[in-house]
């Protein structure tokens, strides 16, 4: 399987990358881990005349905790994120999603930024990041902007990213003291699986009364982008966590989603599994919050 021909660029910093991109106009593709781009090029779904590698840009590999947030570079690999102690401790659902992407071999190449930019409805990274309220930084030569990940993802393969822009960083706030999250992915097998349904939940509790102060339930593979189950979130806020409440939230989430029938699963099955995964990820979130209180 041969790759189409292309010119290869390997800039060593972001400014240079922006200039290269601006100069090449639209017939260029950014290469991060290559686990999507190279495959799509081999299948001739894409054949850009120019490929710009991000591999030699140290800024895209940074991870910084500053006060109340964590900012990390878009070119960190899934394996690096899954093994990061800081992420496993404070953003466990993100580490879990990173560790369930692809295979161990893929995880050594695939990057978090690439996973976001590819914008597949069943992708692993967007879910916990949406549950944690992540922002992404988009940079081009004329400046940069931070946008909510929720606003960034528009549809299958569709994002806010302009042709001359690079997703450079992702930022998540530090979780409040009594909070927790959970991520689950349902597939037919454990590895190299595209989710039938995936769900991430986040709960933040009041210190004293243990009522739910904030809740986010994010559903994957049941709409054209990952979506928030807003009525499930509404059902949770202000209540005390309990199995009965999580059951109710699961039912609400099943009503919130808009799955389709395809060769992986029927819409009915997906809806039923949204209910189960919502319940279970909420229980995971409650358990983590409990361990932190």
């Amino acid at each position: 399987m041969l790759l189409p021909k292309f010119e290869f660029y390997e800039p060593s910093n972001l400014q240079e990358t922006c200039q290269v991109l601006a100069g090449l106009k639209e017939d260029a593709r950014l290469l991060a881990g290559g686990t999507d781009l190279i495959v799509n090029m081999k299948k001739r779904l894409l054949s850009p005349a120019n490929v710009v590698s991000l591999a030699k840009i140290p800024e895209l590999k940074k991870m910084e905790t500053s006060g109340d947030s964590l900012t990390f570079g878009a070119c960190l690999t899934a394996a690096e994120i899954a093994r990061s102690e800081a992420i496993s401790k404070n953003w466990s659902a993100l580490a879990a999603a990173a560790g369930s992407l692809g295979t161990p071999l893929i995880r050594n190449l695939a990057t978090v930024g690439g996973n976001l930019v590819s914008a597949r409805p069943a992708a692993d990274f967007p879910l916990p990041l949406l549950a944690y309220g992540a922002k992404v930084r988009l940079k081009k030569s004329s400046g940069d902007r931070w946008v909510l990940l929720e606003d960034f993802l528009l549809g299958p393969g569709q994002t806010l990213l302009g042709p001359d822009e690079i997703l450079t960083e992702i930022s998540v706030d530090s979780p409040p003291p009594v909070s927790g999250a959970g991520y689950m992915k349902l597939g037919i097998r454990k590895t190299l699986e595209i989710s039938i349904v995936n769900v991430a939940s986040f709960l933040s509790l009041e210190d004293r009364h243990q009522t739910i102060r904030a809740a986010r339930v994010v559903l994957g593979a049941v709409a054209s982008t990952p979506i928030r189950a807003l009525s499930a979130e509404k059902a949770l806020i202000g209540e005390k966590p309990s199995d009965a409440l999580f059951m109710k939230a699961g039912e609400a989430a099943a009503r919130d989603c808009r799955p389709i029938d395809d060769f992986r699963a029927s819409a009915d099955y997906r809806r039923a599994m949204v209910e189960v995964l919502t319940r279970r990820t909420l229980a995971m979130a409650r358990e983590e919050a409990g361990s932190r209180s």
Binding site: M1, K5, I38, V39, S53, A79, I106, N108, T191, L192
Partner: protein, 165 residues
């Protein structure tokens, strides 16, 4: 005639040997290894990152060499299956694969062994779940997984014993 994209000069280490080469940008690492360096121990199966038969260890990490461009291997150190054997003979993982009957057709074996090596480099005494997870990106179509797991366990024991001696 229209000229194609320029070749790029790269320098990389493969199995402790330095190579300096001119490569086309659209050549993948697996093709460089097999076609230009003659290292055909690295296999080509699916060519899209699904099967793991092209596994090599790049700067200490196992990766699908069908998804890495040869130009991206510039400055990197690559270990292929050919780099495991020493003048003392086969690597203990290779020996264990032979002894335990973990090889049937052999096509997945180089990738399996490199994934296993990368696990054992990181963790000398992995449990069964860790072994299964470590080789989960390597498909065996002869359904020989059980013996592969047993071979990795045997190799781990042997390597720990050698280290103690």
């Amino acid at each position: 005639m229209k000229e194609g994209p320029m070749k790029k000069l790269i320098s990389l280490i493969v199995n402790d040997r330095v190579y300096e080469l001119a490569v086309d940008p659209n050549v993948t690492l697996v093709d460089l290894l097999r076609d230009q360096l003659g290292l055909t121990g690295t296999k080509k199966g699916c060519e899209v990152g699904d099967c793991g038969s092209c596994t090599v260890i790049m700067d200490g990490k196992p990766v699908n060499s069908c998804l890495v461009l040869a130009v991206q291997a510039h400055g990197k150190s690559i270990l292929t299956i050919e780099g495991l054997e020493t003048h003392e003979g086969l690597h203990p993982i290779q020996e264990a694969f032979v002894e335990k009957g973990a090889i049937q057709c052999g096509f997945c074996t180089p990738g399996m062994i490199l994934s296993a090596k990368s696990l054992l480099d990181r963790k000398a005494d992995p449990d069964e779940a860790e072994i299964r997870s470590a080789v989960s990106g390597n498909l065996c179509r002869c359904t020989g997984y059980q013996k592969i797991i047993e071979a990795v366990q045997a190799a781990a024991e042997r390597m720990q014993k050698t280290q103690r001696e």
